[in-house]
Amino acid sequence: MHILKRTKSNVHPYVPELQDLYQQGRVSRREFLRLATLLGVSLAGAEALIGVAPAAASARARQAVVRGGTMTIATRVQRVDHPARFSWIEAANQFRQVCEYLVRTDWDNITEPWLLEKWEANETVDEWTLFLRAGIKFNDGTDLTADDVIFNFEQWLDPDIGSSMLGLMSYLKPENIEKVDDLTVKLHLDTPQIGVPEHLFHYPALIVPKTFEGDLVRQPVGTGPFMLEDYVETERATFVRREDHWRMGEDGSPLPYLDRLVFVDLGEDTAAQIAALQGGQVDNIYNPSIDVWQAVKEMPGVAVYSANTAQTFHIRMRVDQPPFDNVKVRQALKKCIDRQKMLDLAWFGEGVLGHDSVFAPVHPEYCEKEIPAYDPEGAKALLAEAGYPDGLEVELSTQQARAEPAMAQSLQETAAAGGFNIKLNILPSAQYWDIWTEVPLGITIWAHRPLGIMIPALAFTADENGVPGAWNETRWVDEEYVTLLRQAESTLDVEKRREIACMMEDIEAERGSCAIPFFTSVWYVCHERFKGVRAHPTNYDLFDEVWEEKA
């Protein structure tokens, strides 16, 4: 194939192999696309490799886009200063319309180059070369160059800025960023890392010009499709269409299609948002909570989109304290979970079931396993073996938020039959945060991450002295597991990595410290007349190709 031939010269050596695997049916289409793009092939190129038409394009072809219109989004309008320092995904979401990322992880969890033309990794995956797309301009008229990119990397890695990128990119030191030419930057990593492109789509990784002084509201300069018009903290943020965005729409003019975006803050209570959506004062509710989803899912004129994610809630047990230092007790508790029921109660069945491993079906290296059944008798037996023939009384602590209380109650109910007498200690979030790493039994939310291996690195490792990491709330450090993890972290081959993941999943299920009953879905709630809208697992609003259908 022509495309294949042309690209073959500079594609990653693993790509052809991958292509074979796909043809043998050993990797799914989605996995192929994901991995190929991860290895530097553009999405369109990757799609071409396996001979499919771009899905979005075919969908769009049915209707002609219309330009103009305003979308009003209900959200919180809070703290904005340095994008590297964003701590609110709401703020990131608003300024994502002004600034863009080097890459984009799309709705299917596939990461593709964005401001980058492409990227390349060496075979040991510790050297990454980023090729910038030429001709992209900031909205103040300056060109996007390698200097800007390096400035941003430096900001992320500057401890004085305080970006969460710093923790994520612990494998990179500022002095190891090399400017190759005006459009090329090379990263020399301390350790191999396959997740670099995913990391570049972490929400604070918005690209600002090198003249940036630290306040995005005062200096709303970016390459994105919209420009900031008005920012009233705690009230609203207004954005208007930029005329010279680098991406072209279907009609051949620059994106975006919409003229204006208005983000309005209606307070903490989502009811006002729902009322506003119903009354047509807002068209979209950002990052809808479960009750918003419930309330609007059947609302006429409102479309609800959903996406699977890897967001989950760990029912986590501290292995350095009795009774959960006994692996049998842990296994018993895992058997006490009626997963489907718990998902139904806690998240209205909107999600996929888990098997006590951090690897979720959306992760590329996910290895499918059987979902453990609800087995109170087995749990009882295990408890007896562990020395608790008359059952066991434990206290379950968690915070008063989201699904946690419902999960706790469900567990309390189903575990009673398994011999566990669970007392609930449901605390306000702030109070739970004070003790979340300390309680013997708790429920903790873990956010979505694009790769499965990203979570164990945080949750189940220790430092060189054997002290469990700061986020290792269960103190579970399994030598075999950690070895496998390190191996996986430098394994680019998704198939090989899946093999490792299979073993890791088994270890987690057998002696791991967390029961992971399900992975939740996220939703996207928007008025039906807006087209080109999809739910993104990370809840990112990507409005560049959204258009409003005129009645």
Binding site: D291, Q294, A295, Q400, Q409, P428
Partner: protein, 294 residues
Amino acid sequence: MSALSGGTKTAEKRPSRLRRLWGGFSIILESRVGTIGLCIIVFWVLVAIFAPLLAPRDPLSQDSDAINKGSSEQYLLGTDQLGRDILSRLIFGTRTILVLAPLSVLASVTVGTILGLTAGYFGGLVDEVVMRLLDAIMAFPTILLYLIIIAAIGPSAVNVVIAITFVGTPGIARLVRSLTLDIRTRDYIRAAQTRGEHPLYIMFVEILPNVRGPLIIDALLRVGYAIFAIGTLGFLGLGLPPPTPDWGGMVAEARKFIWTAPLNVLWPILAITSLVVGLNLFADGLREETTRYQ
């Protein structure tokens, strides 16, 4: 009071006490609004007492097959967003509110009465200091004070009681103080003073019983306010943490689903409104009748 008056309760006083109590009751029955109010209160109190018998289901148990369902044979008033029986939650919610509201009023009446008696009876600097402090608290819009306190100490049943006590105390202290200032000039207080009675005796034995009438009416109104406050705090998400059934919280939850289950929000609204109306009617009737009798 009983500690101070000790042996003064003579045997022949008891029947008169009972009679007086009944007298107070019959006064209420003379007022039609008061009677209606009393009936409403008694209704809710009975509901609270017999909640476990009256509630058809466990207020916490969830039925994932019946989410936001309307009235049915199984669920008389329907179910909420978690598939819990609204009727049962309403019934158990009565307990929450009818325990917390009177409790917090009782606490503020106790503290307020002591402060008010002291300030009113001693006057002078004591009065100045106490009243200035209480004025400062009273200068706050009530909800604001609740917000600040709950924000500081976090939402929980105990903290709600603490907040309402804190907010309610100055009003009661002021009332008691003004009554005390008036009573202090009465001749029977002078008579007690000329007998060389201890200030504590005068405050708690001579003055306190005469403050009782207006204080009871005020306390009744305050129970209404407290219910109001508990409901509002629950509504604002500063009240009792879920899943405790709490009317304000139920309104807050249910109002999100007005478009799917419009009636769900109506029941807790009706419940809280009827209870406060009942209390206000009762207090009104009581006030009207006692002033008529005086």
